[in-house]
């Protein structure tokens, strides 16, 4: 018990200091072996993913300003948390995102234009999870996905797809949610079910400081990582702007989950540098100084310093810039080419089996719409 009820503290796992030196802190010790699995090529991949998605993020915001998207949901500032954790997943794992994890989708094979189609109002989902690295659809009712993820993980367990003794085959689930979403009852219920059934699952909570305009302190007076313990699962708080911490801690907990050692919660301390969405105005509720503090801890700058210390070639850094620019302009080009769905989409796929109410309504609708065509001809 903390001596003072306001004094809840929990160590933050950090491997990469903000200036880019590799200096695992005490809390990071047990995770260093996981970091050591990474090759130089992996480090470079991290950098590439982070730079590319940030450039794409800017392009998508531009598309919104130009009237091409109804909304854009920026991920600027959270790249390390997302890239590191995504890299820790295996092909057989299932990922249940919130709605800001564009790079996680990309790394699992999702075409980011599918996200743009959704935010353009062309679809409610936009992709088939099984054909996109088991990256499930975005969920807009906060924390709902935490329960779907837990149920899915229960199914893996019932299928005997976990703890088979073969790590190449064992499956696990990772679910993303935010500090705001953590206050939803569903988040707590998911943690209860996960602990109860010992699901193969990692809860990845990105504490980006804000739920739209409300600071994380309104959601919780204790570190979110401590809540995990309350529910009965292993939990860690990590420096979410340290891509190595994000990778190593997620890798450990996913490995444990796949091996049948149950669920874990990770709280990644990061910052939403951009607005909540393009409809938001952060100048109304947060201080410039706060933002500046976090910009100074930028995850990309940090990894770049690390790579430079290790003597990465300038040509690599230049290539990544070029790749980012190409990626963004390709996404823009294709986002402008997407086509609106057929009007049939209204009635399609509401039910698996024919439904009398909809059969009648659809027939009426089609006759009604057709009446305009006749009038025109």
């Amino acid at each position: 018990m903390a001596a003072n009820s306001n004094d809840f503290s929990v160590p933050t796992v950090q491997l990469l200091a903000p200036d880019g030196t590799f200096a695992p802190n005490e809390a990071a010790e047990e995770f260093v072996p996981y970091f050591e699995r990474l090759t130089d090529a992996d480090h470079e991949r991290f950098y590439r993913e982070m730079v590319v998605i940030r450039r794409f993020d800017r392009e998508a915001a531009n598309l919104q300003r130009q009237g091409q998207l109804a909304l854009w949901v920026p991920s600027h500032g959270q790249e390390a948390a997302q890239v590191g954790s995504a890299f820790a997943t295996r092909p057989q794992d299932h990922i249940f995102p919130s709605y800001r994890e564009h790079v996680v989708g990309k790394m699992r094979g999702l075409d980011v234009v599918d996200v743009l189609r959704m935010l353009k109002g062309l679809t409610l989902g936009g992709w088939v999870p099984e054909e996109n690295g088991n990256f499930h659809l975005y969920t807009l009712v906060l924390a709902s996905q935490t329960l779907h993820a837990t149920g899915y993980a229960m199914g893996m367990q019932f299928d005997g797809a976990t703890a088979t003794g073969d790590p190449e085959r064992d499956e696990a689930v990772i679910v993303y949610f935010g500090d705001g979403a953590s206050s939803q009852g569903d988040a707590s219920e998911a943690l209860v079910f996960a602990a109860s059934y010992q699901t193969p699952q990692v809860f990845f909570l990105q504490n980006n400081g804000w739920a739209i305009s409300v600071p994380a302190s309104r959601q919780s007076r204790t570190p979110f990582a401590l809540r995990g313990h309350g529910f009965g699962m292993r939990s860690n708080r990590i420096d979410g702007n340290d891509v190595f911490a994000s990778y190593a801690v997620t890798a450990k907990h996913l490995d444990d989950a796949r091996a049948g050692r149950g669920p874990a919660l990770i709280e990644a301390m990061t910052y939403r540098v951009g607005a909540h969405t393009t409809a938001d105005d952060p100048t109304k509720y947060r201080l410039d100084a706060d933002l500046a503090d976090w910009v100074a801890k930028d995850p990309i700058v940090r990894l770049k310093a690390y790579l430079e210390n290790r003597g990465v070639a300038q040509s690599f850094l230049d290539d990544v810039e070029q790749e980012a620019a190409d990626f963004a302009s390709d996404a823009r080009k294709r986002a402008l080419e997407v086509v609106a769905p057929d009007q049939d989409v209204i009635f399609d796929n509401v039910y698996a089996e024919a439904n009398a109410t909809l059969v009648e309504e659809r027939a009426w609708f089609e006759a009604y719409e057709a009446s305009f065509e006749e009038a025109q001809s």
Binding site: T123, L124, G125, V128, P129, E130, H136, L137, T139, V141, S144, T146, L147, H148, A149, T150, G151, Y152, A153, M154, G155, M156, Q157, F158, D159, G185, D186, E189, A190, V192, F193, S196, Y197, Q198, D348, N349, V350, Y351, A352, E353, N355, A356, T357, L358
Partner: protein
Amino acid sequence: MTDTDTRPAASVTESGARRTGTENLPLGKAINAGLRQAMLDDPKVLLMGEDIGPLGGVFRVTEGLIQEFGDKRVLDTPLAESGIVGTAIGLAMRGYRPVIEIQFDGFIFPAFDQITTQLARMRNRHEGGVTMPVVIRVPYGGHIGSIEHHQESPEAYFAHTPGLRVVSPSTPNDAYWMIQQAIRSDDPVLFFEPKSRYWPKGAVDFDSEPTPLHATRVVRQGSDVTVVGHGAMVTTLLEAADIAAEEGTSLEVIDIRSISPLDYGPILSSVEKTGRLIVAQEASGFVSVGSEIAATIAERAFYLLQAPVLRVSSYDTPFPPAAVETQFLPSPDRVLEAVDRALAY
């Protein structure tokens, strides 16, 4: 291992065979038999709920099933309705066919969000890429003299939600077959069980599947006035028909069975014959299933009607203390009062 608690270890006994012949069973036992059959037919069917394991549910509808199928197929879940439905969605994505028991009608609302914003839309937002074969069993309705939140009729909330199917059996035979049909459905089904009818017995024919899931059925022929209802109300309507017959009035009684989608065919045919329609329900009348039927019949059969469609409902108040529930719920007498009004037109 999914469980480390203290309940007796469940063993999977040798699978029994399909039941045959005809048996007189209470509705609750008929559902039990239907669940068992569905679990034998498909290993992906699993049950989830509160106290549905060794206790067999507060109404004993799942009695014996954990002993027969084990605790991996009969899950005594944590006590959280949203959690049950939300995890059932994940299980359905994984290929399972979860059948959920909500302990009492009044306790479905913590799961309302998962049912309406998630379960009902999952297939649609996946553009057909997933199916959601989830059944949610809800013991509902009054007449059992119980405490607050234990006698509600919330079916209209769900019938209003696109993507859900909503049904309610009124007889043991229907209960046995409809639960299996609901479980076989690739769409989510809200399965409302009239709890006041759990105990009276009726013949269950294990050999022949009687009627499609979404069909209304004429349960008593008549010629003067058509009366329709679902669940326990069907019993009330049949009692009213007996009394009316003694007074020389012939009521045609229709069991709706399926609230969404609603099969209007038999109702329209009946109204063609009688020209008069009464819709009775245990739920409050304002924005109810009865309102929907009345509006639709008025739209489609205006010239067939010799009187306005009348609704007989519970009052638009919270379900009152049980001491006055008989005044609150539609009785045969209130149905007959409406019959008189319809005939007086």
